[in-house]
């Protein structure tokens, strides 16, 4: 058991050790300073030239968002039709069928938004063409979109007064060429050498030792698995995601994948410190986020290691911890750690089945997604955290008797309005969606859909409620992981979750960018003795308090009726 805990601790330390220098590198990339990958410059110049982009042309916040939304819309149309027609297109050795329109809608939305919610299973629901030319492609560019939006915020914070948040296309391009692609290649090669398939061959059939004829799904998976983690996407090549022994063959790849998914969100924090030259600010945020993560990880690992009390009552040994839905090669500690990392980071890949986690772990996973800002997804994590900062700045500004300001810019009614709206939105999507689901389940249990509501839930009672709550929470957080017992592939869930994903993606990006755009335009107010220092530990703690209170107050009742009731009933 000790080697399991040690494995988790070392994994985390390695992440920090890699993220710090990477943060410095990322800051240099966006500052346009010299880096070791400058040999990519001619490629980038060529891309800009044929696309008719002037990389030096700045954009204000409205132009920036327009550029971002336009290209995202284009990707949606492309992805939707590819999924819809995939059965008729090449690169389909396993002869998998087209998607239904509602599933195409859900899947297209899911991948352009970095969510990677999968209402299909990878072995049978998609083709190699869509896996590579839609999913892998979108895994790169959706991550780059999130990062680009964060860089826009960096630019707003860097200058005392500016309207120029940078050129969206330029940032998008270098994010792929300088950051995502190079690191993905390294990870993909390491995966391939540890047993993950990378060739284009289709299913294999063989006769096993006991004489059973079985098949194995394969495919060019390694490359996709690399970017799925690095870009905090999470969508698996196979149905079982990173619990699948080909997707995540051993403890080393497990460490690598779980490091890869935290790497960029964490290093973007450090990059923020380097980029705007306020290292202490970034470090305090890093500290608070880490604290938040630990608050979720520690109870999870403890409860998973202790095993299922219901099974303990049956009289068998729980020395290996709770193993339902988990893989022996990872064990409960690494599985518990991963389940929290993947939920706070909005990756949503899994190396164990969350639906079978202990009730307390389920609660922690839900909280991770409800906060959605402890490190958080590529770029969007800090954008989410920024909303909490604005609310904290506002309340604590009042508390010290000064018109609230953040980094020299006054926070006034407009900014508060946007921040409040974004906060409100999550509460609305999650609880509204869940309420609709409950209502439909109770009142239209025999509705004539692909899966009848009466058959949605794989578990009864509190856990069934958790399954539905997990789905809407995951959609709103753009996480993509699931309590997979919920049968989600029907028109109801495809549409409901699709809408939740769109709102949960774009408004929390538009909001912070608008705030930073509005604030950066304002007059710069230098610090005085009366100014609240946002890089102080006190302010960090205040932000943490705001996160805690907002999350607890907004979601206490449904959490009580789901995981908390399950936990208390099991330990009654």
């Amino acid at each position: 058991m000790n080697s399991e805990l040690l494995g988790v601790i070392v994994t985390f330390l390695l992440t920090v050790l890699l993220a710090y220098p990477l943060g410095g590198y990322i800051a240099k990339v966006y500052c346009g300073e010299r880096t070791i990958l400058d040999f990519m410059k001619p490629v980038e110049r060529l891309i800009f030239r044929i696309s008719g982009i002037n990389p030096a042309e700045g954009m204000n916040w409205k132009q920036f968002l327009k550029a971002m939304l336009t290209i995202n819309m284009l990707w949606f149309v492309y992805a939707f039709f590819m999924f819809l027609l995939q059965g008729h297109l090449p690169l389909n050795p396993d002869a998998n069928p087209d998607m239904t329109p509602d599933l195409s809608f859900n899947s297209a939305i899911s991948f352009i938004t970095n969510t990677n919610w999968q209402n299909y299973s990878g072995e049978t629901g998609v083709t190699y063409l869509t896996q590579l030319f839609v999913i892998t492609f979108l895994q790169f560019v959706s991550a780059a979109t999130g990062i680009a939006c964060l860089v826009a915020m960096f630019n707003g914070l860097k200058h005392k007064t500016t309207e120029n948040l940078g050129n969206f296309w330029q940032i998008l391009t270098v994010t792929v060429t300088r950051i995502l692609l190079p690191i993905s290649i390294v990870i993909a090669v390491l995966l391939a050498f540890n047993g993950t398939p990378a060739s284009y061959d289709g299913k294999d059939t063989y006769i096993g030792l006991q004489g059973d004829t079985v098949q194995v799904s394969r495919g060019p998976a390694a490359g996709m698995i690399a970017i799925k983690h690095l870009g905090t996407n999470g969508g698996g090549w196979y149905n079982a995601n990173s619990a699948h022994p080909l997707e995540n063959p051993n403890y080393f790849t497990n460490m690598m994948e779980v490091i890869a998914q935290v790497l960029i969100p964490m290093s973007l924090l450090f990059a923020l410190g380097f980029y705007i030259k306020r290292r202490k600010f970034a470090n305090v945020i890093f500290g608070i986020m880490t604290l938040g993560m630990l608050c979720l990880v520690i109870p999870t690992i403890i409860t998973e290691i202790h095993g299922n009390p219901e099974i303990t009552r049956m009289g068998i040994s729980q020395a290996t911890g709770a193993m339902e839905g988990k893989e022996v090669r990872f064990g409960p500690a690494a599985s518990g750690y991963w389940s929290i990392v993947t939920t706070i980071i909005s990756t949503g890949s899994v190396n164990s089945m969350h639906d079978s986690s202990m009730a307390l772990s389920g609660l922690m996973q839900l909280l991770g997604m409800l906060v959605n800002g402890f490190y958080g997804g590529c770029g969007v994590g800090f954008l989410n955290y920024f909303i909490y900062i604005i609310i904290a700045v506002f309340i604590s500004g009042l508390m010290v008797g000064r018109t609230p300001e953040f980094m020299g810019h006054k926070v006034e009614a407009r900014e508060v309005k946007i921040a409040a709206l974004v906060t409100l939105l999550s509460a609305f999507i999650i609880k509204g969606g869940l309420a609709i689901a409950c209502y439909t389940l109770l009142h239209y249990s025999n509705a004539d859909w692909a899966f009848k509501p009466s058959g949605w839930l794989n578990n009864a009672g509190f856990h069934g409620f958790s399954e539905m709550m997990y789905a809407v929470t995951s959609a709103n957080a753009n996480n993509g992981s699931a309590f997979a017992g919920l049968t989600g592939n029907n028109i109801f869930w495809n549409v409901l979750l699709g809408v939740a994903i769109i709102l949960g993606r774009y408004l929390p990006i538009i909001g912070p960018i608008a705030i930073i755009g509005l604030m950066a335009k304002k007059k710069y107010v230098p610090d005085s003795a009366g100014t609240l220092k946002v890089d102080s530990i006190t302010f960090g703690a205040m932000t943490f308090g705001v996160i805690l209170i907002i999350t607890a107050l907004s979601y206490f009742p449904p959490l009580v009726l789901g995981p908390i009731a399950e936990y208390l009933s099991m330990h009654h």
């Binding site: 018109t403 609880k431 007059k523 100014t531």
Partner: protein
């Protein structure tokens, strides 16, 4: 400052008036201005409906008594919030009324074509001219165009000592409602009826023209969004409970909703704003808007005139330094003689220091030499032929050297010493012979250093404006503890300094009284005009200090900060309260169908009904409990922003989490006797 003005928070008459108003304010149209409390009013109406429903035979909603209790408590919640606003308004109104009384129907001696005509003060228009004689009440704000008078301004300042107002210069303005004690003045009206400072102030403190400040608007938005979040919580709870097979009563849902939304701050928000204006008024400062008070809380830089602000009046003679071989007595006599005709404060102070009666000198037929910029000295030529001169050391030296007399070494040394100490040396000569030097010093007001130190801790930089040379200015600046100074200041220097600071993003305040201060007062973010100042200055600024106390700004800054802090801390307190309320209500809702949730009933509340009732009662009574705090404001301590935040978080954040646990438990012990 008139601290003796009523400081009691609840006077019987005010409370009575406020009680009446709390019912008047139940009108939904008025309630709508406060969205948080408006929704509570709707909840109350819903509960009334439920009570009627039960009375007509509904069985599933619990007992009538219980539902009616909930209805009553909710109704009280709304009333309490209305009362908070009403009492704050009543206090302001009481202040305003006492002011208004002084000027109701004052007869005005209007000057029409050279003749005096008695008209009502209400008929005076801007530009009219009226006359006031001894014993007359001044009917309206105006500017003296002729004459000089002593005026009793105690009605508005509370200061009993009369003040002198005269035409021309910076002390020409008079305020309506004050009384002429002696002499006669001709005054031109400067404001239209109903627009004088008093009128504006009355309107402001009565809340009629009170506009929400930017911070208040932002906070209202935040509170509204919290309210919406909790509305969603409660609405969605119904299908969730259906899933869990738990019936939920209307009263439980409404109670949960009312408990969760920030009623505490919502109910006190407008009271806090009104009380802030009221506190400013109690400090004898009339503000033209609530925004100005809030802005004062954000100030970065404060411009102060040296004279009268940092130093007491003008320079004073502090020492006589006779030259070697000169009889000290003779030297002092000469000094006094030279100053007899000198009406400047410096001249007067020399006579004061000498302590010799003017009458001991015979100066019949003497010729006084006036000070001119060219000669830079003044003096007296006596009939006896004695010529005494007093002036700047170099000009007197010139006179002496021209007559072939030397300038004594020790006097020269003394002159240098005085200069470097921030003083002004005045050399005195008699018949072109140097007698010695008089030392003039600025006297720094006692306690001023502490006040500047306090401002510094608040984050406000103080800048002294003076006409002195840089050396003297620097000395005084250091001695008084100001952060910066503008020496040899011309009027446009102030303006430029303010603009420069503002370009750097700073908020600048300045105090002024002269007409030539008006542009700078207008440019400054907070311009505080002295009530004794000119009309132009008062128009240009956004506050008027009735006490003419230039360090009043410290109080204003603190009032501004208190205003924000009170809002911030009560918001935090209000939201933090919700934790305990959840732990009271949520287990109560589900404990029957989910027995495991008993573990969440950490307060061991007796029954579901008792728990819910205790929570709503706590939610209601916390409003009147906090009214005194809302009216007085949270104490401001200049200990730095982070320390202040820690302190307030500890008291109002952690305190806000703990207090309701205790309160609800205690209430439950009582309520539990019946439910």
């Amino acid at each position: 400052m008139s601290t003796e003005k009523s400081n009691k928070l609840f006077e019987a008459a005010l409370v009575k008036d406020a009680l009446k108003q709390s019912f008047v304010k139940l009108n939904p149209k008025i309630m709508l201005r406060n969205p948080v409390m408006f929704t509570v009013e709707i909840g109350t109406a819903v509960m009334l409906g439920v009570c009627i429903w039960i009375a007509t035979g509904e069985k599933a909603q619990g007992s009538f008594i219980y539902n009616f209790s909930i209805f009553l408590v909710l109704f009280l919640t709304v009333l309490f919030a209305n009362f908070a606003e009403a009492i704050a308004e009543a206090r302001g109104k009481a202040q305003a009324d006492s002011l208004r009384k002084t000027r109701e129907e004052t007869p005005a001696k209007k000057l029409v074509a050279g003749k005096i005509e008695i008209v009502s003060s209400a008929l005076l228009r801007k530009g009219d001219v009226f006359v006031c004689e001894t014993g007359d009440m001044i009917p309206n704000d105006g500017e003296i165009i002729e004459g000089i008078a002593t005026i009793d301004e105690s009605a508005i300042t509370g200061e009993s000592a009369p003040v002198i107002r005269e035409s021309g210069g910076d002390k020409s303005s008079v305020t309506g409602g004050t009384k002429v004690l002696s002499d006669k003045i001709k005054v031109r009206v400067t404001t239209e009826p109903g627009e004088s400072f008093l009128d504006k102030m009355i309107a402001l403190v009565e809340g009629a023209s009170r506009q929400k400040t930017p911070n208040e608007i932002a906070l209202t938005i935040l509170l509204a969004s919290f309210t919406l979040i909790f509305l969603i919580v409660c609405v969605t709870l119904k299908p969730f409970a259906d899933y869990a097979n738990t019936p939920i009563t209307v009263s439980a849902l409404v109670s949960l909703y009312v408990c969760l939304i920030p009623t505490t701050i919502g109910g006190l928000l407008s009271a806090i704003g009104i009380a802030g204006m009221d506190r400013a008024l109690r400090a004898n400062v009339i503000t033209k808007s609530g925004k100005a008070v809030e802005t004062a809380g954000d100030l970065d830089t404060l411009l102060l005139d040296k004279t009268g602000t940092i130093t007491i009046g003008n320079r004073k003679a502090t020492n006589f330094w006779p030259a070697n071989g000169v009889d000290p007595k003779a030297f002092i006599d000469a000094c006094v003689l030279s100053s007899l005709a000198d009406e400047t404060p410096e001249g007067k102070s020399i006579i004061e220091l000498a302590n010799i009666s003017k009458d001991t000198f015979k100066i019949d037929g003497a010729v006084f030499i006036e000070f001119t910029a060219e000669t830079r000295c003044s003096g007296i030529d006596l009939v006896s032929g004695l010529r005494i001169r007093k002036g700047a050391s170099d000009s007197i030296r010139k006179i002496a050297e021209k007559a072939g007399n030397s300038f004594p070494e020790e006097t020269l040394e003394q002159v240098k010493k005085i200069s470097s100490n921030g003083g002004t040396p005045l050399v005195v000569s008699q018949n072109e012979q140097i007698l010695g030097v008089v030392e003039l010093q600025d006297i720094i007001k006692p306690g001023i250093q502490e006040r500047f130190e306090r401002l510094r801790k608040m984050g406000v930089k103080t800048v002294m404006v003076t006409g002195d040379n840089p050396l003297t200015a620097k000395f005084i600046a250091e001695k008084a503890g100001v952060d910066d100074f503008i020496a040899e200041a011309k009027p446009e220097d102030k303006m430029n300094y303010i603009k420069l600071e503002q370009q750097g993003g700073k908020l600048v305040a300045m105090m002024g009284d002269g007409t030539n201060d008006a542009p700078a007062l207008a440019q400054a973010d907070v311009g505080v005009a002295m009530n004794s100042g000119t009309q132009a200055a008062k128009e240009a600024g956004n506050m008027v200090d009735l006490d003419n106390d230039p360090t009043k700004l410290i109080e204003i800054v603190e009032i501004g900060k208190q205003l924000l802090m009170t809002r911030g801390t009560l918001t935090t307190f209000s939201i933090a309260n919700d934790v305990a309320k959840y732990f009271a209500i949520v287990p109560a809702l589900f404990i029957v169908s989910i027995p495991g949730l008993q573990a969440l009933n950490i307060m061991y509340l007796k029954s579901a009904e008792s728990a819910i009732l205790s929570a709503v009662i706590f939610n209601a009574i916390i409003i009147p409990i906090l009214i005194p705090l809302a009216l007085r404001g949270v104490a401001y301590k200049p200990i730095g922003a982070s320390a202040l935040l820690r302190r307030n978080l500890l008291i109002y954040g952690i305190g806000g989490v703990i207090a309701p646990f205790v309160g609800i438990k205690l209430l439950d012990m009582i309520v539990g006797l019946w439910f």
